[in-house]
Amino acid sequence: MSDAPLLEAEGVSHTYAGGQVGCADVGFTLYPGEVLGIVGESGSGKSTLLSCLSGALPPSRGRVRFAVRGQGMQDVFKLSEPERRLLMRTDWGIVHQNPRDGLRMSVSAGGNVGERLMAVGARHYGDIRSEALDWLGRVEIDAERVDHLPRTFSGGMQQRTQIARILVSQPRLVFMDEPTGGLDVSVQARLLDLLRGLVRDLGVAAVVVTHDLAVVRLLSDRLMVMRQGRVVESGLTDQVLDDPQHPYSQLLVSSVLQA
């Protein structure tokens, strides 16, 4: 309990230009290695919140602070743009729902994974390549595919390549936006296992936004349930899923078909 927080959200609210509420008064503290799940249906504000947390959308009110290496807690939106962009390439990673948003489709899988290394100054081809191969292996992509373009990959492989591309820089915090969305069920299970193993082995903290309760059951330690921009319930993932208190959480949990 002695380690310091990694990410802190305080009263984060965002109202869109038309007065539409994106998210309202969201607060939490995330510690190193913790995985926080955010669930809710479409329009519940979870994507808006994720944008605010990941530095993409300045909140109308409230603040988001991150423990920048050697600098302590820093307001994410008060960092200079190059500082924020550096964070994005090193200590942070975003797993997009659509891998096309997170990959360079005209660059080989190896080049995609190696980019973050080169971005921070790696200049030895052999080292970059062997690290790329190592990470592609960890996300279960055959070494033979290292020079292939992601557009020749299946959706699941693209998603795994995207994850390798992020994890290669050994980030401390990963944001995931519906990481299994758009994938076949069998592929989803494999990806989830993989993510679970990686998150555990690397001790990386994560914020996972999803509408799929199975995803958070497997990945997250803690859970927030959002509705109409607000957090209606939070707690340990198994608490919220096994003993939901809020009417909306109960509805959400009871709506899932038991396989």
Binding site: G110, G114, V120, Y125, R129
Partner: protein, 310 residues
């Protein structure tokens, strides 16, 4: 070889035919371009946007280089124009004629005689001097464009010196072909800061850009960008520690002038596949032959009693 003299003397600010302003562009435009040039020189390798004008040739024929040349040309200048190293190709001849007519400045094919050299795709073999300026015609000034199509994003990459992506391009070369196969327009880092496209010169010429005594100016007409390398500026070709930058090397000397360590072009001699490698820099080759150097073909021809280049 021969220096053309201006056809009319005293034409200080007007073109010789009296129709166009000196060097075609109006003075205001030239001032605007000179301001952009000053900024470009102040920030080596940085692409300065400028209000490019329509030139009486199509984009792709050197409109950017021509506007830069027009803006820096004075009555005392001597202009040389080369295209792929040669002075006698259509593009070079047209541009030379254009300035000879609109500015009335003397033109030359001799590198040593020129004060301004406009070039497409080559840097002359002879080391340029402090009193010379080389103007490059640039089709695509943005070195990151092929990898990152968003202009807003490439601007930020330059602003924050985020150049990992350029390295990705070289990584892709090696992973696909076992070596860096980029042979022209090979990206360079200028003054340890800006990533720059050297225009489509062969990478053979890249080392000449480094610490060059002459001022180097770059003009991109379609993209409306100007950039520059001031004299004696550090220019480094990108590479990997384990795949260092290597300019092209030619095993045989020039077939005509016997020059080694110069950039050679392949010339097909007949429809039976007979060919030879000769200097791409036609002025350099001519000078050497005048000095008595003789390549294998030239020697063979001399023995048979006729000139090999005829």
């Amino acid at each position: 070889m021969s220096t053309l003299q201006p056809a009319g003397s005293g034409a200080q600010f007007h073109s010789i035919d009296g129709v166009y302003n000196f060097a075609y562009l109006d003075e205001q435009t030239k001032r605007m371009i000179r301001r952009a040039l000053l900024k470009a020189v102040a920030i080596p390798g940085y692409q300065v946007p400028f209000g490019g004008r329509e030139m009486p040739v199509a984009y792709g024929w050197g409109t950017g280089g021509m506007q830069v040349t027009a803006s820096i040309l004075g009555v005392d200048d001597v202009l040389k124009v080369i295209d792929q190293g040669a002075d006698d190709t259509t593009n070079a001849v047209s541009i030379r004629r254009f300035f000879n007519r609109t500015a009335g400045v003397p033109v030359t094919e001799a590198t040593t005689e020129a004060t301004v050299i406009q070039t497409r795709h080559r840097i002359p073999e002879k080391t340029l001097r402090e009193d010379q300026v080389i103007v490059y015609q640039v089709p695509m000034p943005e070195p990151l464009r092929k990898l990152e199509p968003r202009e807003t994003e490439t601007r930020k990459m330059h602003a924050f010196a985020e150049y990992g992506l350029m390295q990705v391009k070289l990584y892709e070369d090696i992973s696909r072909h076992g070596e860096i196969t980029t042979t022209y327009d090979y990206p360079v880092e200028v003054n340890a800061r800006y990533m720059m496209a050297p225009s489509p010169i062969p990478k053979f010429d890249n080392p000449k850009m480094h610490a060059m005594p002459a001022l180097q100016l770059f003009g991109a007409g379609r993209e409306k960008r100007i950039y520059a390398i001031p004299p004696y500026t550090k220019v480094r070709s990108l590479d990997f520690n384990d795949y260092p930058f290597e300019p092209q090397q030619f095993e045989d000397p020039c077939a005509l002038c016997d020059a080694k360590g110069v950039f050679l072009d392949e010339v097909i001699l007949d429809d039976k596949g007979d060919h030879m490698f000769v200097c791409s820099d036609s002025d350099h080759c001519r000078d050497r032959r005048a000095e008595g150097h003789m390549g294998p073909r030239a020697r063979e021809a001399a023995e048979k009693g006729y000139g090999a280049d005829e």
